[in-house]
Structures are given as C-alpha cells and as structure tokens.
C-alpha cells in the first residue's frame, strides 16, 4: 500500500516537473520579447536574452512620437473594434440562429455556399475589395469596418453549433403560448446564448488589433499615418523604408507589448466562453 502511494506521489511530482518544463519553454520567448522592449538597441536586431542596457526610452518614444502617432492608432483601432464587434456580433448571431432554428428553402444551399466560399484564399479578393470600397468612397476606417462586418455572415459555425444544442422544446412551448418567432428569438434565443454572444463579440473585437495586411491595403492609400490602425501602423513603422528597421525596432517591440497586454487579458477572460462555444459546436459536429 505504501509503495503504491509512493509511486503515485512520484508520478505526480513527475507530472508537475514535466508541466513546469513545458510552461517555461512556452513562456520563455514571450518573456524575452518583453525584455527586448526595454533594451537599448539601435541595430534592428536583438541578439541577447538579457538586454545589455535597460531603458524606458522605447516606451516613451513610441508614445510621444509625432512621426508615428501610436495613440491615434490605438484610438482608431478601438473605434473600428468596438463598432465592428457590435455589428458583427449581431450579424453572426442572427445568421447562426436563423440557420439553426428556422427552416426555409434557402437553408441548405446557403450552408453549402458558405462552406465553398470559405475555401477560397482571401488575398485575391483584396484587389476587388479595394476597388469596391474605392467606388463607395470608403478607403478609410469605415470601409474597414464594413469589410469586417461583411465577413461576419460567414463566421457562424461555432454559434450555430451552440444553437443546435439548445432543446427545441423551449421554442415550441413559447410558440404555443402565442409568441411569434421574433419574440422567441429576442426573449428566449438571445438570453440563452449569452456566452456565445460574449465569445463572438470578443473574437471580432480582437480581429482589428492583429490584422496588418488587409488594413494596410485599405488604409495605406491615404499616406497619412494618423488614419492607420495599430497593427498596420506598427508593421509599417519598421518596414516602410531602408534604415527604419534599425532606428525604430525596439520602439516597435514596445508598441507591440503595449497592445499585446490588453489583448492577452481579454483572451484570458474569453477562455471560458471559447471553451463553451467550441464544445457546443464540436458536440454537434
């Protein structure tokens, strides 16, 4: 009996050690990134783990630079993120609800078309999107929002899986009580899908913070850094001309760390909803 418990204790210790090693491996590069954001460096390349010289200047520099208006970028991105999250969530939830709970002739074809559309790589459509937005005179943050929301109608899979798992009996009971389908949607469907709404909103909220390619294609035309979003602005900062990499690299890292912090926190908050959503979708298959 004793050897058995010893063995178990040993196994537990082994698992703890394994987990600790893995955790260190995973987190180590992230810590290095944070360290690098404090390092004094003017060569565009960080070659040591521990900075040779610590400085706050990178953070001061990125927050006060007139050439690269970081604060504007953050505000722009916040603007895009809030509006696009609100609209996208509505679109995604509505589409998912309709496809899951209502039956109509277009349902099957729509699901199939959505599946097919998702398999084309996105880059080629960017040229077309550019000209469509130009025609609408929306080569700006508004156009960016429009495109993000435009894609929301196809991102319904997880939410649909969630609605699929809700028992139908609830709807039917409500309808027998005389509620119409809209009332069922608003008073029963939406309240029950709160975790899904939070999840969808957070995902679409985070998208603009990390998109540096599409936002670049739409926003770069203005040539005015004040109109950029933070992802494109930062990316552009070190890629826009010869020599800027050396000059601005550590400021770039500092800027990245600043925006990574809130996103990380949001993501950690979102974990629970993410897990709920995914399982709901996966259960159904």
């Amino acid at each position: 009996m004793k050897s058995y418990s010893n063995q178990r204790r040993f196994a537990l210790i082994f698992r703890y050690v394994l987990l600790a090693i893995l955790a260190v491996l995973w987190i180590f590069p992230i810590i290095w990134i944070i360290l690098a954001s404090f390092s004094y460096n003017n060569t565009g390349f960080v070659s040591t783990i521990w900075p040779e010289k610590f400085t706050w200047q990178n953070y001061v520099g990125i927050l006060t630079s007139s050439q690269y208006p970081f604060v504007n970028w953050v505000l722009n991105t916040l603007f895009v993120a809030v509006i696009s999250a609100t609209l996208s969530t509505f679109v995604t939830i509505a589409v998912a609800y309709v496809l899951s709970r209502l039956r109509f002739r277009f349902r099957k074809p729509f699901l199939q078309i959505a599946l097919v559309l998702g398999m084309f790589p996105g880059f080629m459509s960017m040229i077309a999107l550019y000209y469509i937005l130009k025609a609408l005179n929306m080569l700006n943050l508004g156009g960016l929002i429009l495109v993000y929301v435009g894609g929301a109608g196809l991102g319904f899979y997880i939410a649909k899986g969630f609605f699929d798992t809700m028992p139908r009996a609830i709807d039917e009971a409500a309808e027998i009580d005389g509620a119409n389908k809209w009332q069922v949607f608003v008073h029963i469907g939406l309240p029950l899908s709160k975790p899904m709404i939070v999840y969808t909103a957070l995902t679409s909220f985070m998208a603009p913070w990390v998109d540096f390619i599409f936002s670049g294609i739409i926003l770069s035309t203005s040539g005015n850094p004040k109109t950029y979003t933070v992802a494109y602005g930062l990316y552009n900062m070190v890629h826009s001309a010869k020599g800027t990499m050396a000059q601005f690299f550590t400021q770039f890292i500092a800027g990245c760390v600043i925006i990574a912090i809130p996103i990380t926190i949001l993501f950690i908050v979102m974990q629970k909803f993410y897990v709920n959503g995914i399982t709901a979708g996966a259960d159904k298959g």
């Binding site: 537990l12 992230i30 996103i263 993410y274």
Partner: protein
C-alpha cells in the same frame, strides 16, 4: 410551406394572364401593381420602386457595364502625347480593365437579382389571382408586415448579411475566378483581355510548373504535420493538466494561452530573430556548450529540411495551446463510466488513452480538425512572418523552400513579378484541393451528415 406550393400550382401563369383582369395583366409589366390594388403597400411599393430604379440604372449604365465584359475595354495600350498648351507630356490611359471586369460582374449580379424579383412578382400575382378566384382572404398590408417577424423571420434577419456577403465575398470571389482567364499581369496592368486557359497552362505545365508541384507537395505535408502535431500534443497537454492531483489548473492553462493571445505579427517576427543564426537561441545554446557551431534554423543558409522542421515546431508553440483548450473542454465532458469500467478491469492509463479517450476526442473533434487542416493549407502568417519563404530555392520561381501555395500566391500578387492571373489560378487550385480533401474527409467521418 409544402401546402402553399401546392395551392399556387393549382393555377398556371398562362391562366393568370388569360383570365386575369386588366390590373393582373398589367402587373406582368408594372411590378407590384396587383399588390397595391389590395393595399399591400409595402410589398407593392417595394416591387414598383425596385423596377423603376432598375430600369433607370439599366439603361443609363447597366447595359454599358455588361457590354464591357465582352472585351474588357477597347483601348488596350496607352498613348503619350505632348500637350502644347501646358508644355508637358500627357498619357492617354488605356481602358481600366479591372474596373470594367468588376462592375461588369456586379451588373450581372444586379440583373440576376432583378430577374429573380420579377419571378417573385409573377408568383405573387398568380397567388393573389388564385385567392381572388376562390374568394379567399387576401393578406392585408399589416398581415404581410407581421409575417416578416414570424413565418418569414429568416428573410428579415438574413437580408443584411446576405447583401454584405454578396458584395464583400461573392463578388470578389467571382472577380478573382475571372481574373484567372485573363492576361492580367505586370505587362498588362491596366488594359488586359480574356485569354482562356493560358494562365492555367503556365502554372500547370509552363514556367511555374516546376515551382507549383514541389510547393504543393510541401503545402500538403505541412498541413498534415501542422494539424496532426498541434492536435496530438494539444490533447496530451490537456490530459496532463486535467489529470488528478494537479492544482491551479486555470493558472497552468493561462500560461500556455498567453502565447496564443500575443498577436502573431509580434510573436512570429520576434521568433524569427530569436532563431536567427546570430540570435539569442544560438548564443544561449553555445554558452551552455550544447552545440559547438550555431545552427542555421530558418535563414537562407539553412537546409530546407531543418527550416521546414523548425517551422512545424514553431507552429506547435503557437498551435498547441489552442488545441489544448479545445480538448480540455471535450475531456471535461467525456462520459466517465467507460473509463471507470476499463480502470476496474485493470487497463493501464496508456491503454485507456489509446482505446477510449483518444478515439472519443478524435471523433468529436474531427469536423474541427478538417477545418484546421484547410486553415493550415492557407496558413499565411506563420510562413510569411517567420521565414518569409527562406531558405531561397534556386529551382523555384519566386518562392522559397518553406513557402506555401498561399504565400507564393501573395508574392506573385504583391511582389516584384505581379502576375495577378497566375495567382488567381493558384487561388482556384487551392480551392479545388481544399474542397476535395474536405469532401473526402467529411464522407469518412460521417460527422457532417446534417449541415
């Protein structure tokens, strides 16, 4: 729904035309007239305005837009002339084929939409005629509107999403497919023409074929390896964290999730420096005496094999946390009775994992796995930000040893060569590959029977 269809088919369009009164007949030309007569204001006016707007648009610019599709603009080359009045040269530009193609396709969409509306109008007319004939109740305007929030709620909720999808996904996709059949490239960047399957020929048997097939091969290997490694180790990690006796499970999970939460254009760009020949990792390994020479992980001197392995490993760093999170949720919901029974029968943990836990997770996750596989075929960020395709490959045309089809496509479009038509072809081929694989996979998993 079935009943209604049956009811309307009791009368044909021909009979509606023959037996209908003047207003019914006129509705064949002026949309929504019959609805207006029955005071279905919303429907009537919507149809009527749609027709008016359509006709005005069609004759003012629609015809012109559609006609342009035939040759994508008549003037194909520029002309440089000297403007004496200003004393400068001026270029008379060729017709802009991109715009002609794009708005030609849009015009076709609009015409198709209108034809559809017209059919709707005819059906409505027929139905109303039938109701009149049978002296049944014709829905009032109010009833029609109310149905929008009940039997037809799907229409109400889907309209805006569908408009957005058509404008921002379908239209660009059709535009892209059309581009594959033109000579839109660096030499024909403004005025281009239809060239049939020529661009397909270039990719499949012409100057790009020597790059396409090897890159395709690596793309598939990558997609399989990336999906399998992240999934398998993600499940193991989840099991480790979920196993009995481990405390503060949430904290452990969060540590791993942080990696995924950091935006990729930061984490991957920095990772590229971390792994550089003169970067911190090599310095560290040298200092510890683990290696005597620095290793070329992902730079241009690296061997393709090492670079490809490195890319897959870095992808594990980013991908395992997500897959850990998903499997955690599934593990928590796994039925415990089977596992308990197996344990009582004396099965070892490894046996339980092999025969019960893993198959169950695999079963539940298979649709998600297929989607991840498709996602990995199109995984732009990891390659573009980490290696940029390096190491270079002197047998390839415009791609490096770690380039995937999708990053090569990006290079062809936005890089030096600007071969838009070739990248459109690539886009179509990527689609065909993805579609084939997911079709086969879905057939085998049976998990996708009900859309």
């Amino acid at each position: 729904m079935f009943k209604k269809k049956h009811a309307t088919s009791a009368v044909t369009l021909k009979e509606t035309w023959k037996d209908g009164d003047a207003v019914t007949k006129l509705t064949f030309f002026i949309m929504g007239l019959n609805a207006l007569r029955h005071r279905q204001w919303l429907k009537g006016f919507s149809l009527l305005f749609a027709e008016i707007i359509f006709l005005i648009w069609f004759f003012l610019s629609g015809i012109h837009s559609i006609a342009g599709l035939s040759n994508l603009g008549a003037i194909k080359s520029k002309r440089v002339v000297f403007d004496k009045a200003q004393g400068v040269y001026i270029t008379q530009q060729p017709d802009n084929s991109v715009l002609i193609l794009l708005f030609g396709i849009l015009a076709l969409f609009i015409v198709a939409g209108f034809i559809y509306l017209y059919i709707v109008n005819l059906r409505s007319n027929k139905h109303t005629f039938l109701l009149e004939k049978r002296h049944e109740h014709i829905p009032t305007n109010h009833e029609e509107i109310a149905s929008l929030f009940d039997q037809r709620l799907h229409a109400t909720l889907m309209t805006i999403p569908i408009v957005l999808i058509i404008l921002f996904t379908v239209l660009p996709t059709v535009f892209m497919i059309s581009m594959a059949f033109t000579n839109y490239d660096r030499q024909h960047s403004v005025g281009f023409s239809w060239t049939g399957f020529q661009a397909f020929g270039n990719v499949l048997s012409g100057d790009l074929a020597g790059t396409f097939f090897p890159v395709l091969g690596w793309t598939l290997i990558w997609a399989v390896a990336a999906t399998a490694t992240t999934f398998f180790f993600g499940v193991l990690l989840a099991l480790l964290i979920e196993s009995k006796g481990i405390k503060h499970k949430n904290v452990w999970r969060t540590i791993f999730i942080i990696v995924y939460a950091v935006p990729q254009f930061v984490s991957l760009l920095m990772m590229a420096q971390f792994l550089d020949y003169q970067g911190p990792l090599n310095t560290l390994l040298m200092n510890w005496g683990w290696i005597s020479h620095p290793i070329h992980f992902i730079d241009n001197q690296a061997s393709p094999l090492i670079a490809r392995i490195t890319v897959i490993v870095v992808n594990m760093w980013i991908g395992i946390p997500v897959s850990m999170l998903t499997s955690t949720a599934i593990i928590q919901n796994l039925p415990q009775d089977q596992i308990e029974a197996a344990r009582i029968d004396g099965a070892s943990p490894v046996q339980i994992f092999n025969h019960i836990t893993f198959p169950q997770i695999l079963f539940v996750m298979s649709p998600a796995l297929i989607q991840q596989f498709i996602g990995n075929i199109n995984n732009f960020n990891v390659i573009y930000l980490l290696t940029g395709g390096a190491p270079m490959n002197n047998n390839y045309n415009g791609a490096g040893s770690t380039d995937l089809l999708v990053t090569w496509l990006y290079n062809l479009t936005f890089g030096q060569e600007q071969r838009y038509n070739a990248s459109a072809v690539l886009g179509i081929l990527i689609f065909i590959i993805s579609a084939t694989f997911s079709l086969i996979a879905y057939r085998h998993t049976n998990a996708y029977k009900e859309g």
